[in-house]
């Protein structure tokens, strides 16, 4: 019996220390880890795809005239990253931040305000698909840097490039 105990002790000493010294030393997360989500207002087009697929509905979009206010309730986020999968512009992505414990619940609420076009009938905000409308818009990112001038909301109208794929009308397609 004593022999067995001795063997056990040798095995235990051989194993060494396994405990992580985590809060005092940083720890690496595995690859493709899905942590707290982050977003970029400059990339977002406000299509609402992420709000559609979010299982806990933690992304809520409110349309107020031409303003879309997107609120992220990270307290009920389950980090499924479906918003990242569905986002056409990849304006929202999961980070590797898992240290999200907080004593204040208001830290878990983030906001994003976007300037968009709004429907004159129903009032819903939309990102226009028409390239000519987009040329007037401040949010047109198709070509060149945005210019700010005395015109206020609408910048200088850039010269229309008729070779742009959105402007070219194909033969099998009826013109709008």
């Amino acid at each position: 019996m004593f022999k067995a105990k001795f063997k056990e002790a040798v095995i235990c000493f051989g194993a060494g220390r396994v405990t992580l010294s985590y809060p005092f030393e940083p720890v690496k997360v595995p690859a493709k880890f899905r942590g707290k989500i982050e977003f970029d207002a400059k990339k977002c087009i406000g299509c609402g795809g992420c709000a559609n697929v979010c299982p806990p509905r933690c992304i809520v979009i409110e349309d107020m005239g031409g303003i879309a206010k997107i609120t992220f309730f990270l307290d009920r986020c389950i980090q499924c990253a479906r918003c990242y999968e569905v986002c056409p512009e990849k304006a929202i992505w999961p980070t590797d931040q898992f240290e999200t414990a907080t004593p204040d619940k208001s830290d878990l609420k983030s906001e994003m305000t976007l300037w968009m076009s709004s429907c004159q009938r129903c009032g819903r905000c939309f990102e226009t698909d028409n390239a000519i409308d987009k040329f007037h818009s401040k949010r047109w990112r198709g070509r060149g840097p945005e210019k700010e001038n005395e015109h206020g909301i609408f910048p200088v109208k850039p010269p229309i490039d008729f070779t742009h794929p959105l402007l070219v009308v194909r033969e099998d397609e009826e013109p709008i």
Binding site: F39, F72, F98, D107, T113
Partner: protein, 173 residues
Amino acid sequence: MISDLCKKMFGKSLWLFHANCGACNGCDIEVIDVLTPYYDVERFGMKLVGSPRHADALVISGSVSRQVAPALRRLYEATPDPKVTIAVGACAVGGNIWFDTYNVLGGADKVVPVNVYIPGCPPRPEAIIYGAALVLGLVGKKLSPQCQQHLPPGFHLEEHLKDWQSDPVITRR
């Protein structure tokens, strides 16, 4: 502030009472995982106890359902002062996917005051250790709310919202 208070009050060891208020067992497994030798939260003097009267801290997991809410309230009152309440998991923090269901209250803070929130579904064991270290005052808070705007120059958001208050707000979710 909480960490300063905790340093003063819970200087030696923090005994936990784990209250499952309708969890799917995911967060419970992670809480047990934290007590194993690999993650070993017992080096901070934390251990699970079987009675709320022996406990210093309540660890609440699960979306608090309507049936369990009075029991959780009794549990909180049975825990001697001073006490810390820790909500573990997206259910206990904000209600998860059941946040607006009829039989779920959507978060432990609707029933008892919560001191530390640990979101995640389930939270990583490291995240729970981080929350425990936050309670003990070993680490600082890293999270802060983000507020981003992408508006054209010369656009006054407050004036726009003032004009818009009379019309209904369309919510997409």
